[in-house]
Symmetry: C2
Subunit: 137 residues, 2 copies
């Protein structure tokens, strides 16, 4: 069980030193013991924990949710239900955002197409579509 300096940990996880300190302040990784001169000496599993944080972040979990997942991880038993609940909530959220964006993409797509079709007229169909009531400023 080697001890790692903050820079080493950061390099291994692929994040910045400042970010590691930030995560420590935020309680996402335990405050490690210090050397005589005050340097942080992280145990191996701090690296695992920080990788967990990164992976979860890639899945769109907020730091708050990640904190919950980490808490649940070290608690025994029925925690799986709680974890599942968080994942389901996140999934619903992601799907809602996809639906929103898809609606927006559709409108934008139509605008661009209209623009292509109408290339020679003076009026811009895109602006007209966003502001139907304003014809000429």
């Amino acid at each position: 069980m080697a001890a790692h300096t903050i820079g080493e940990v950061a390099r291994r996880v692929g994040i910045g030193v400042e970010t590691v300190r930030f995560y420590e302040r935020e309680g996402l990784v335990a405050s490690p013991p210090r050397s005589a001169s005050g340097y942080r000496l992280f145990p191996d599993d701090a690296v695992d924990r920080l990788r967990f944080v990164r992976r979860a972040k890639e899945l769109g979990f907020t730091l708050d949710e990640i904190r919950s997942l980490l808490d649940l991880r070290v608690r025994p038993g029925a925690a799986c239900d709680d974890v599942r609940e968080i994942a389901v909530a996140r999934l619903a959220d992601v799907e809602a955002r996809i639906a929103d964006l898809r609606r927006i993409a559709e409108v934008l797509g139509r605008l661009v197409t209209a623009c292509d079709a109408d290339r020679d007229t003076a009026d811009c169909p895109i602006l007209d579509a966003i502001a139907p009531e304003v014809r000429d400023a």
Copy 2:
């Protein structure tokens, strides 16, 4: 062409008074003339302009982009090409975000499914999947 107080404008557009002032500071709506006592007296077309801002925001345009669209709107001629360019860029952006989210949703969906299938074991498949040692989700 009536003149409207800021509160009236805000009500008509469906935003807050503070937001109207913020948009004025940001140059999204012109600074209106004032009454003798310093009240803003917005012309009718300020309401239209602010509605334009809101609609464009719903389509995911940033305030910077909306400023550009508004500038283009009052300029004649070939502005349509510029408008189209902004819309195309925004569309590409939206589609990229959809792709990202879809990937995330897929992973989350698999995790929840795994959790359902594995309800009686002690290990939580979700946590295992996020954990670094099982890094191929």
